[in-house]
């Protein structure tokens, strides 16, 4: 319960950064923080008390050990890669924008109205 709330607070910190910050690098960082928080939340939901990593070992039979939920781990693997993709894309857009406008401040580059 406490860990869930802390993790959710991390998500809100990221959201705060996205809504308030005016400079592109901080915005990219904030979107990264949101990504971390959502991934961590999934894995927190998957933890089973006393469970071990979901990898079989030679010395133990299949049903012998308590393991954590493997499905969210598979989902998070996908989502980490997606986040790397979005980071790469945002960085590319940011340096193109920097090249055009010579600033990282999104309030100063407003060519589009509203």
């Amino acid at each position: 319960m406490t860990v869930y709330l802390l993790c959710f607070a991390l998500l809100l910190v990221g959201l705060y950064g996205l809504l308030v910050k005016r400079d592109m690098i901080r915005i990219i960082i904030a979107s990264g923080i949101m990504g971390y928080a959502s991934n961590l939340l999934l894995i927190l939901f998957a933890y089973k008390r006393g469970g071990l990593y979901p990898i079989l070992e030679k010395s133990k039979a299949v049903g012998e050990r308590v393991m954590v939920d493997p499905l969210p781990q598979a989902l998070v693997l996908t989502s980490i890669v997606i986040e790397l993709g979005i980071t790469a894309m945002l960085v590319a857009l940011a340096i193109r924008l920097f090249e055009k406008n010579k600033t990282f401040d999104i309030t100063k580059i407003k060519r589009l109205s509203g």
Partner: protein
């Protein structure tokens, strides 16, 4: 067993385009046109044969709660048809339009990825898989919005990407909470296991509403849309406005809130209120615009408001109107963006004040834009009239005369700002001359096809035809228990 091919064909086309095209892009054109034609044929086939059934396909030969399943019912097939028809015309338009801008195989590869993502979202029956394919479509959309390499296009794409990443994260958190509460990702099982009227349901519903509302550009979440849709190349604008906001936004909202959450009244009220806000405010914003593509983008927000209003009223007729308006809006908005693209290409401007009498130099564009204007403004016998009429009548019949009034006012406002487009943009007094460009036959054909469709789709509401086309879609939406039973094979 045609379901996986809705993904395989465009995806294979995207990879092949990246592999075989060199400096010239004709291989890319051939591959993508072939892929889109086969997709259109498949989608039409699926829609005609599906009726009230649900086709379920289990990936990798595993059984349903353990595998990803694809589930196509009449509503999905309906969306597939829209995607492939608009996609095909868009591609025809792009071949000639992009030749004028900056041709590259990357454009076609990204276009196929866009189609892959939207098809994947529409056919899937698994919540996380929906998220993944949504990301594919969005990544392609970000890149395509910035395709022209101008500063404002990068700015629009950056804004869009930021908004998209917020909404994707919210979706992921929603999926996490739903998974924790139900321990499954198959949408039919979630529908079965998620406790009705619980805190988890309302909270995750609110999260999904915000996230997919961002994708659908409902009014408080709309800020990215006018920039992104007006900065993209014209055929991409029509894909984004015509199909993307519907398959990623509206379709998923309907699927989630009707088939999974069982249409909780709280959310229906929110839909009605947000829909009305979108209709009115976006219309006023559109009236103030002089940039043709921005005006069309605001008009998209307003028209999506109509769809949302229909969903929010929630009676049979209202949903029929909403579903029909999804189709109609896709057709006429795509057509209007093609018109805008042609005008921009010919005159080199999007400003309505710099346009003038285009009847002489662009006869096809002017005529088709008249058709689209009548359609969007709701003049009988064009298709837009019927869908709006159905929504308005349904609102009054369901005891919401205020919402009916809002819809009527919204239609009138639509008429006002499109009269402005016609008055200044296409039939102004100013005599303008053509720049030295050639309008390809593909562009004309795309516009004419859609203009004909504007008129032809009106017959879908005729009793007799409606029973086999739109009614199965409405049944699929309204029947939550039936959805669960058919997907689970009970």
């Amino acid at each position: 067993m045609i379901l996986p091919f809705f993904i395989i064909i465009p995806l294979l086309a995207a990879f092949l385009i990246a592999l075989i095209s060199g400096d010239r892009d004709y291989w890319a054109i051939i591959v993508s046109v072939l892929a889109m034609i086969s997709l259109a044929v498949l989608a039409l086939f699926a829609f005609i044969t599906i009726g009230g059934k649900t086709i379920v396909y289990e990936m990798g030969a595993w059984k349903i709660p353990y595998a990803i399943c694809l589930a196509v019912d009449a509503f999905s097939a309906f969306m597939l048809v829209i995607i492939s028809v608009i996609g095909l015309t868009s591609l025809m338009f792009s071949i000639f339009y992009i030749k004028h801008r900056s041709p590259s195989w990357k454009y076609y590869a990204l276009f196929m990825l866009l189609v892959t993502g939207m098809n994947g979202v529409v056919v899937t029956g698994d919540l996380f898989n929906l998220f993944v394919f949504m990301e594919i479509a969005l990544f392609a959309a970000y890149a395509l919005v910035s395709y022209g390499s101008h500063a404002e296009e990068f700015e629009a794409a950056f804004k869009y990407a930021i908004m998209g990443s917020i909404s994707s994260t919210l979706v992921l958190v929603g999926i996490a909470v739903v998974y924790s509460a139900t321990s499954t990702l198959t949408m039919a099982l979630i529908a079965e296991r998620l406790p009705q009227n619980s805190a988890v349901m309302f909270w995750s519903g609110g999260l999904f509403l915000a996230a997919f509302g961002l994708k659908a550009a409902i009014m408080p979440f709309h800020a990215w849309l006018p920039d992104a849709h007006s900065s993209a190349p014209a055929p991409i604008s029509s894909m984004l406005s015509g199909v993307l906001i519907k398959s990623l936004g509206v379709y998923v909202l309907i699927r989630l809130f009707y088939n999974i959450y069982g249409a909780p009244p709280v959310f229906l009220t929110i839909f009605r209120v947000l829909g009305s806000i979108s209709i009115i405010i976006a219309s006023f914003l559109a009236i103030g615009q002089w940039d043709l593509k921005r005006l069309l983008a605001y008009s998209s927000i307003s028209q999506v408001g109509f769809i949302l209003l229909g969903i929010g009223i929630g009676t049979r007729w209202a949903i029929l109107g909403a579903v029909f308006h999804i189709l109609n809006h896709a057709i006429f908005k795509a057509l209007l963006f093609y018109n805008a693209g042609t005008v921009e290409m010919v005159l080199g401007t999007r400003d309505l004040r710099k346009m003038g009498n285009l009847t002489r130099i662009l006869p096809y564009t002017t005529t088709t834009s008249m058709v689209a204007t009548f359609s969007v403004a709701g003049i009988p016998p064009f298709n837009g009239f019927f869908s709006k009429l159905i929504i308005i009548i349904a609102a009054i019949a369901a005891g919401h005369p205020v919402y009916g009034g809002i819809a009527i006012v919204g239609s009138l406002l639509t008429l006002v700002y499109f009269m402005k487009v016609q008055r200044y943009g296409f039939h102004g007094e100013k005599v303008v001359e053509m720049e030295d460009v050639k309008i390809g036959w593909g562009m004309r054909t795309a516009m004419i096809i859609l203009a004909v469709l504007c008129l032809a789709t009106s017959i879908l509401v005729v009793p007799g035809i409606r029973e086999t086309t739109l009614d199965p879609v409405v049944n699929a939406i309204m029947d939550k228990t039936g959805y669960i039973a058919r997907v689970m094979g009970r």
